[in-house]
């Protein structure tokens, strides 16, 4: 890296002249640094920004500060209650050592299609808040590791609308820990009067960004959740993703496994 600076308040963001790479927990950035990458970048350490690590219920919304670690998200009673799929996703990231440092803001800013928090944020209808604006999670990513963030725009938090929902997350990797997903899924259902009122379904690692299964969501709306509906939904979902062959897995495996994990997740809601 070219330079290392620290900011102590959000007000200092406006004074930054050079383009910065923001550093929080460092679990992505330091891996890159250790590998010899980011040589020409200016690192701006934001870990001292006060109050950005809180998780709170505010009115009908769950607000998660960008600096909240995956460890705190995984064990938060508020998140387990209203955004269970996010708590589940957080608990699967990396390892205890990584979860104690990795932040949700960093996972989102890194923007990997395999980033485990992201499908949960899509499924929950989360909004990404920056120092400049609010962007729905499913409009935030434009390609692999590409987001809509402008120069020195900083993610400050995530807002999740509180609903009476059931949500689940599942990831498939080569092992239970320290694994980047081959395919992952998050689903959130609001069921009342025996019918599905709202459905949020997303898949990770099977497209250039996390993919929202919009057709499947539309299919499920208004239906009664039963095995036949679930089976049909899984088939529809498998058609909405665009997996590729890469060194982690194959398109064929990903497509077949995506159908399996969405079916298993939906069955948990029965």
């Amino acid at each position: 890296m070219k330079k290392f600076i620290r900011i102590k308040s959000l007000a200092e963001l406006g004074k930054l002249r050079e383009k910065c790479v923001f550093l929080a927990g460092g679990t992505d950035i330091y891996v890159a640094l250790n590998d010899g990458a980011l040589e020409d970048e200016v690192l701006c350490d934001i870990s001292s920004l006060k109050g950005l690590d809180k998780i709170e219920l505010k009115g009908k919304n769950i607000n998660i500060g960008a600096l909240a670690t995956f460890a705190s998200i995984a064990k938060s009673p508020v998140i387990k209650k209203y955004a269970a799929c996010l708590a589940e996703a957080a608990a699967t990231v990396g390892s205890p050592q990584i979860r104690n440092r990795a932040t949700i803001g960093g996972n989102v800013a890194n923007g990997s299609p395999s980033g485990d928090a992201i499908p949960a944020l899509y499924a929950l209808g989360a909004v990404i808040k920056t120092n400049l604006r609010s962007v729905p999670a499913d409009k935030f990513f434009t390609g692999p590791k590409k987001t809509v963030l402008k120069k020195n725009e900083l993610i400050t938090g995530i807002s999740i609308p509180g609903k009476n929902n059931k949500s689940f997350f599942s990831k498939i990797g080569p092992r239970k820990a320290l694994a980047i997903s081959k395919v992952s899924t998050a689903v959130s259902l609001v069921i009342s009067g025996g019918l599905i009122r709202e459905a949020g379904i997303a898949f990770g690692a099977v497209g250039p960004t996390v993919i929202r299964a919009a057709e499947t969501e539309k299919f499920l709306k208004g239906k009664k959740l039963n095995k036949a509906v679930i089976s049909r939904a899984a088939k529809t979902a498998a058609g909405e993703i665009c997996p590729i062959d890469d060194f982690r897995s194959t398109a064929k495996y990903r497509r077949e496994t995506a159908a399996v994990i969405i079916e298993r997740a939906l069955r948990k809601a029965l």
Partner: protein
């Protein structure tokens, strides 16, 4: 940059590049070589240390963020050379082969037992999931942690 923190109970102040890895400061500047470098990617846990009660990988931790914190390395478990009950359990159970993963494993165990004095087998597996061992196959490491939890902090068998 001047940075001050507590390491194994002792306050230290030193000059370091803010982006320097905590691992390198611990090993090179402070001469505490019990913490090992295994992968430099936060994937093996050999570099694990405890910072303010939380287990972290020091190879991906900038020393600038150590300011004002309390850090425990493996050396901190055996002041004056007296072995910690967890270390005794590792030896008694045969959980050490080449020993390279051992400092990280012991600290992962300590971080667990400091929070859960009676962990289940699943808790132990999860607590150690960020630490790789190429020698032992993990079985004796897990039973060492279980034994250490049963013997209590002071190394005595609990009365039943």
């Amino acid at each position: 940059m001047r940075v001050s923190f507590k390491i194994n109970g002792k306050k230290v102040t030193l000059d370091a590049a803010p982006e320097a890895r905590l691992l390198d400061v611990i090993r090179e500047d402070l001469g505490l070589t019990g913490t090992k470098e295994g992968c430099s990617k936060g994937e093996c846990g050999a570099c694990s240390v405890i910072v303010d009660g939380e287990l972290v990988d020091s190879c991906i931790f900038p020393v600038a963020q150590a300011e004002g914190r309390e850090i425990t390395t493996i050396e901190g478990l055996s002041p004056g050379g007296k072995l910690h009950p967890i270390q005794k359990a590792f030896i008694n159970e045969g959980a050490v082969q080449c020993g390279f993963c051992t400092p990280g494993m012991v600290l992962a165990a300590k971080a667990l037992l400091d929070k859960k004095s009676n962990p289940s087998d699943a808790d132990i597996k999860e607590a150690l999931s960020g630490n790789l061992c190429r020698c032992t196959g993990y079985t004796k490491i897990k039973s060492a942690v279980k034994k250490a939890s049963q013997n209590g902090e002071r190394g005595r068998t609990k009365k039943r």
